[in-house]
Symmetry: C2
Subunit: 216 residues, 2 copies
């Protein structure tokens, strides 16, 4: 493994990995292959053919196949952005709207084919090579989101808009109310129902119930 290879040990969760434009193009091709073919479809030879690069370059850039998969996860995680919460606690109405927007963004991400494909990939590998991919997805994805969410909920509590003891517990309830069992059903390959495609409606319902449990 060369010094330029992507290594999970040397990449900090808060520092976005810097991939060259060429590498980003290749990673985007890898993501496409992964989304509509599953993990089995992402072979080094197939990616080299699709992305018009050589296998030698793949191994020089990413070390080995695991490094490539980790790079794909890290790349996609760096693409996901959540709305900022600047001044979102001005008053009760705007804060609630902000929470709703956050939940809708969460649904948007988690129900996207890209996220589903990466979750399937990480889960499929979670009991093999010391579980590098799962950890990476958790740190770069879920923990990132939960940190943002807890900060938002804490802000609401400080402003007297919400009432709870444990912000993590409150976040998990909000998550459960929003996601329910839809995520696991989508991961298992069930097609989303028509009602499940109206993300805004689901977000508003979830926030409504959340406020009935934790509203001040």
């Amino acid at each position: 493994m060369t010094a330029a290879a992507f290594d999970i040990a040397t990449s900090r969760p808060d520092a976005a990995p810097e991939f060259s434009p060429r590498q980003q193009v290749v990673l985007q091709h890898a993501l496409t292959l992964l989304v509509d073919g599953g993990e089995k479809a992402l072979t080094t030879a197939g990616l080299a053919r699709t992305a018009s690069c050589s296998k030698e370059s793949l191994y020089k850039w990413f070390g080995d196949r695991d490094g490539l998969l980790a790079a794909v996860v890290a790349y996609q995680a760096s693409q996901v952005q959540f709305p900022s919460e600047a001044g979102a606690t001005a008053d009760a109405a705007t804060f609630r709207a902000h929470v709703t927007a956050f939940v809708e963004a969460l649904l948007e991400v988690l129900f996207s084919e890209t996220s589903l494909a990466l979750n399937r990939l990480s889960i499929g590998q979670s009991n093999t090579n010391s579980n590098r991919l799962g950890q990476l997805l958790l740190v770069r994805g879920k923990h990132m989101i939960s940190t943002r969410a807890r900060a938002m909920l804490d802000s609401g509590r400080r402003h007297g808009l919400l009432r709870f003891d444990d912000s993590n517990d409150a976040y998990q309830v909000l998550y459960g109310l929003a996601i329910r069992d839809v995520h696991i059903r989508l991961l298992l390959g069930e097609a989303a129902g028509t009602a499940e495609k109206d993300l805004n409606s689901q977000a508003r319902t979830a926030v409504d119930r959340f406020y009935r449990l934790f509203g001040a």
Copy 2:
């Protein structure tokens, strides 16, 4: 594929597949391999060695490797039993206790290593061979459970203990309140925290919140 091979098309969701005792022993070995080694650890040669049977028998019984995996899923699903709800709506207290017991049983199943391994397996294969495993797990597992749950909740509504419009919606909320994001974190390989191992406490908290939303 011989007539004796396990075929998803000929197996009805409500009819338990009949595996011979010898086959059940082999499937149990397969399950063990799967739990502590992931899908990659379950090879036909490895299973034949572990279970002291021949590969020829495996192929005679299950057709091919996919049939073997499907048989493992079906076998484990047939092992899971939920408490009966006979006369559980006698009064409000016993009904609520029954709901709590149901949720605790749900947590017990979903957080078990066996269930996690099978979910990982099905999810990992969900975008390959026309998604047979995912469908099987959904039909034999989740839909089974949700049917039972909806019947229970409907019973509570008929007795004036619960109030909701859509039983499926109510079930999904109960599911979300109980499972939250713990399931996906466990699927990704994160170790369960100490608080997350107290299933009874989690079940009571979830039912408490559920009653605050849907209690009559």
